[in-house]
Assembly symmetry: C2
Homo-oligomer: 228 residues x 2
DNA sequence: TGGTTAAACAATCAAGCGTTCTTTTTTATT
DNA sequence: AATAAAAAAGAACGCTTGATTGTTTAACCA
């Protein structure tokens, strides 16, 4: 056998892409073998090389396309909105909804960056920086206008994005809560966080808080020598 | 050659553990080979089996020990503190400091759960649930006392933990900010978020917000057929 | 209808994988 | 000094991996 009846390059390419996302999401990039991928699509492993140069570029294509899509749609949503609080709301809603409908893509883009070789990783990190820049800009603008109370816009950016992206870790479509309810809950946390909340005590860390100054490694099988 | 001079079982076991954490953190569990690990410690790959049954239990031991350590230390820090706001502060400070000093362990425990086989994963997920339960309890307690304003304690728990844990993605010791400053910044975001902030507008999502109802998959090479 | 191109198969390669087993050397115990 | 136990070496195993090549067949187009 060779070319199968009804075969079509474009359709196969799409099938490979989708199966790739699915398998990488499920098993991780390293753990997914090309034979697995080929079987999922209904091909022999060698045939895959009609559609990509090697395993690495398959991953890169998936991640790059996703990041460009994310960035482009975010910019589109924010276009024309001036008020920082409104922009922050739009950003949160966009980020959450996008992540809720693209669990696999997002998970891959976040987790498999380390599986990209250096040149590819640089491209992806650049795109991610631009995306983070959107939120950081909003926070700085809001702080400048006095509507936000953010000490460290860079740290706050990381914190907020981590929080919003974390939805990928638990959200499943058709759960107890609607997407709107989830968006509301997260947005309330974000808005409250950057508008200062109502700190009943000074925020500086009390010095009497317990601190683990040293990671105490517990040896596997042998009891650690007692130390004074 | 066989047994090397100065060799010592306990020391080697510890070295294997540390090298395992380092390599899994760097390359991922699947991507780390036992020959790599053996080379890092200075052994032959076969010799590793004096110290664990197989690759899987090495991972499980690392993750389980970490989770038990995390849970135990958190409970110890919270012991005796009653006020919900104070408990929340302690939880945030603990979580952040712990994660700042244990980047690799935490990263592994969060990322490699899927590499655990079912029985092992169940154990780890159980431990994680208990840890999340600490925060959820604090939020519920605060809400009951009227000091917090949380709609969905479960969602808020996931959101806050994601945010705090996100520090693993960027923090490096010796950076511009001190640990205290970082803890303050994050804690301010959390406290503000759960104490309501100062919402200048109703928090319900305005219906005119742009929503991507469907993930628009863009085929790789072939232009999508135009649709009306 | 015939020629051309696209699609997929089938076979192969060297390398690397986790794991097991036997042997050798060092350390600890009597 | 003799013996037992511990620690590691080293070789071998059966498999799978990503990658590549040449061949065969179906789809397309003039």
């Amino acid at each position: 056998m060779a070319r199968t009846i009804g075969s079509n390059g474009a359709r196969t390419a799409e099938a490979i892409r989708q199966a790739g996302v699915k398998l990488i999401y499920k098993h991780g990039y390293e753990a997914m073998s090309l034979r697995q991928l080929a079987a999922e699509v209904g091909l022999q492993s060698g045939s895959l090389y009609k559609y990509f140069d090697n395993k690495q570029t398959l991953l890169f294509d998936i991640v790059r396309d996703h990041m460009e899509d994310l960035l482009g749609k975010a910019e589109a949503d924010l276009a024309g909105i001036e008020d920082p609080l409104a922009r922050l709301r739009v950003f949160c809603a966009f980020h959450l909804r996008y992540h809720m409908t693209r669990l696999a893509h997002v998970f891959i883009a976040n987790m498999e960056i380390r599986s990209l070789d250096e040149a590819h990783r640089a491209v992806v990190v650049g795109l991610r920086r631009r995306y983070e820049g959107l939120l950081e800009g909003i926070l700085r603008q809001g702080a400048a206008q006095g509507v936000f109370e953010v000490r460290e816009p860079k740290v706050a950016t990381y914190a907020i994005i981590s929080m919003l992206t974390g939805i990928c870790m638990w959200y499943l479509p058709g759960g107890r809560l609607s997407q709107d309810e989830i968006v509301d809950t997260y947005t309330a946390l974000v808005i409250g966080g950057v508008t200062g909340g109502a700190p009943l005590q000074p925020l500086a860390a009390p010095t009497e808080l317990p601190v683990h100054e040293k990671p105490t490694r517990r040896p596997a099988s042998v009891p650690k020598a007692a130390r004074t």
